[in-house]
């Protein structure tokens, strides 16, 4: 079989094996790469740094387990940063699957790494509310109409960090980590642009390019995919060297990301070589 024919007939299962190997092998040998934050990610870091200690932050985990590998590292990095700065974090979600993610972040990061932080005073779980933009709209007018109690049933008025909140405008910044609709776009449209509340966040790499038009006038910054998470982690490690001892999931996963990207680019080039050779042959005929 000639080379162009062989390329054309390459069994897709071989491609699957190549991809699997390009991801699995780096996970075993764990290559490490240094990273630095690009301006669009650095803007998020700088905003968190500039807020006075004790600022109320709404962290909306608008995603489920299907996109957790990209967005969980962002959530962890933001929580680590926010708590180190002394900010008060309200966790919330517009996705039903997001409840499990909130529990994961609360248990594995807040309670595990900051056992001295008190629920209700330093962080709170506001749970899930349906309605997407409609829910945000109601929260802009009267937060407690939409969220009368936290996820555990405690009245918001009984929680020190939420007692004086009347609407979303009482938050210093809204951070949304989004896998789609509803998500960061809805927070910008229904809260940021109308209420003048700074909105920033992260998105899966599928969603992030669509949100670039909002930067910088309507969105402080955005972390795009695993690379964005890795950049934020690098900014965090630079600003807080004590975090270098912690596991930074995005930084670790950049190894397989690099190798698999190279494999895919090589596959695309190979496919095009086969196509060009075949075209040359048919022109000659």
């Amino acid at each position: 079989m000639r080379f162009p024919e062989a390329l054309k007939r390459l069994d897709r299962r071989i491609i699957f094996l190549l991809i699997a190997a390009s991801v699995a092998l780096p996970l075993v040998w764990k290559p490490q790469f240094d990273d630095h934050a690009t301006p669009i990610v650095q803007a998020i870091y700088d905003r968190m740094e500039s807020l006075p200690a004790g600022s109320r932050i709404l962290l909306a985990l608008d995603y489920g387990p299907s996109t957790a590998p990209e967005l969980d590292p962002m959530a962890v990095a933001l929580v680590r940063h926010g708590i180190r700065k002394g900010h008060r974090i309200a966790l919330f979600t517009l996705w039903p699957d997001g409840l499990g993610q909130i529990n994961k972040i609360t248990d594995d990061t807040i309670r595990a790494e900051f056992p001295d932080k008190r629920y209700g005073a330093d962080y709170v779980n506001l749970g899930y509310k349906a309605g997407g933009g409609g829910a945000i709209n109601t929260m802009m007018v009267n937060l407690k109409t939409m969220i009368p109690a936290d996820a555990l049933g405690a009245l918001l008025d009984s929680l020190p960090m939420m007692a004086e909140t009347r609407s979303l405008s009482d938050f210093s910044v809204i951070v949304s980590l989004t896998a789609g609709d509803p998500g960061l776009k809805e927070w910008i449209q229904f809260a940021g642009d109308i209420g003048g509340i700074p909105v920033m966040g992260g998105g899966t790499a599928v969603v992030a390019p669509e949100l670039y038009p909002y930067y910088p006038q309507q969105m402080v910054g955005i972390m795009g995919g695993l690379k964005g998470a890795s950049e934020y982690e690098s900014a965090l490690m630079l600003g807080y060297p004590d975090t270098e001892r912690l596991e930074m999931a995005a930084t670790v996963r950049m190894g397989p990301q690099v190798v698999s990207h190279v494999v895919i680019v090589l596959l695309v080039i190979l496919g095009n070589i086969g196509y060009l050779l075949e075209r040359k042959k048919s022109i000659r005929r």
């Binding site: 390459l10 897709r12 491609i15 699957f16 190549l18 991809i19 991801v23 790469f33 240094d34 990273d35 690009t38 669009i40 489920g64 387990p65 299907s66 957790a68 039903p96 699957d97 409840l99 499990g100 529990n103 248990d107 779980n125 749970g127 509310k129 349906a130 309605g131 997407g132 409609g134 829910a135 109601t138 007018v141 009267n142 109409t145 939409m146 996820a151 555990l152 049933g153 390019p209 669509e210 670039y212 038009p213 930067y215 795009g224 995919g225 690379k227 950049m254 690099v258 698999s260 990207h261 190279v262 494999v263 895919i264 680019v265 596959l267 695309v268 190979l270 496919g271 095009n272 196509y275």
Partner: protein, 226 residues
């Protein structure tokens, strides 16, 4: 009545929510707040409708012994067990007053052990297919396709450390050709331009369609006349 009342409801709801955006006080604004709240509540009933429809479809398949009816039984068992465990908060240390997805509850177990791996792996499968599709279909056949291909490759290499390694040797005067810088520039400027053009087009489409729906010109959502 079957078509007129829904059209009136659409008109009133739409107009209240539009006018309430501009009128920030008074009875209209109170109605606007209430409609926002009602909207969120009704969307939850859509989840219940979805569950009900699932039961209807799969029970019919089982009753008629249709193709793959045994798998419909798997769906029904998964659905029923999760529903009972969740609705009755079985295993939740806090009982009826506990959070719905309380750590240590059986629903959290189902979420961690069943929902999470299934949801995550379904999406992870796409990585293989996107690689296979890239190899088979991504061809520089035309000028436009070549531009798309080159942009994609710059992004793929530039958004990883390998990009810096490949072009890091360039002198400072040519640093704009460094792959990471090129990737960032593409995202910040041409990508933003293209996405903005699409966004403006969509916004105009949304405005036009919303007006058509509110004024009853667009009625497809009502279905066919019986």
């Amino acid at each position: 009545m079957r078509r007129n009342i829904p059209l009136i409801i659409t008109f009133i709801t739409g107009m209240v929510l539009i006018l309430g955006y501009f009128v920030t006080r008074g009875p209209l604004h109170t109605l606007y707040e209430s409609f926002s709240d009602y909207f969120a509540i009704i969307t939850v009933f859509a989840f219940i409708l979805g569950g009900g429809n699932l039961i209807k479809v799969h029970l019919r398949r089982i009753a008629n012994r249709a193709k793959d009816w045994r798998y419909s039984m798997v769906t029904m068992v998964g659905f029923t067990v999760t529903l009972i465990v969740g609705m009755f908060k079985i295993g939740a240390p806090g009982g009826w007053g506990a959070a719905v997805v309380e750590p240590e509850s059986w629903l959290q177990f189902i979420f961690d052990g069943i929902f999470t791996p299934l949801a995550a792996t379904m999406f992870a499968l796409l990585a293989f297919f996107v690689a296979s599709a890239s190899y088979r279909a991504f061809r520089a056949r035309t000028k436009e396709a070549t531009i798309l291909l080159v942009a994609a490759c710059i992004i793929l290499l530039g958004r990883t450390p390998i990009g810096g390694w490949l072009t890091g040797w360039l002198p400072p005067e040519l640093s704009f050709l460094d792959l990471p810088n090129l990737a960032n520039w593409i995202m910040a400027w041409p990508n933003t331009a293209g996405q903005r053009a699409i966004m403006i087009g969509i916004a105009l489409g949304v405005v036009a369609t919303s007006l058509r729906i509110i004024f009853g010109i667009e009625r497809n959502y009502l279905g066919r006349d019986e």
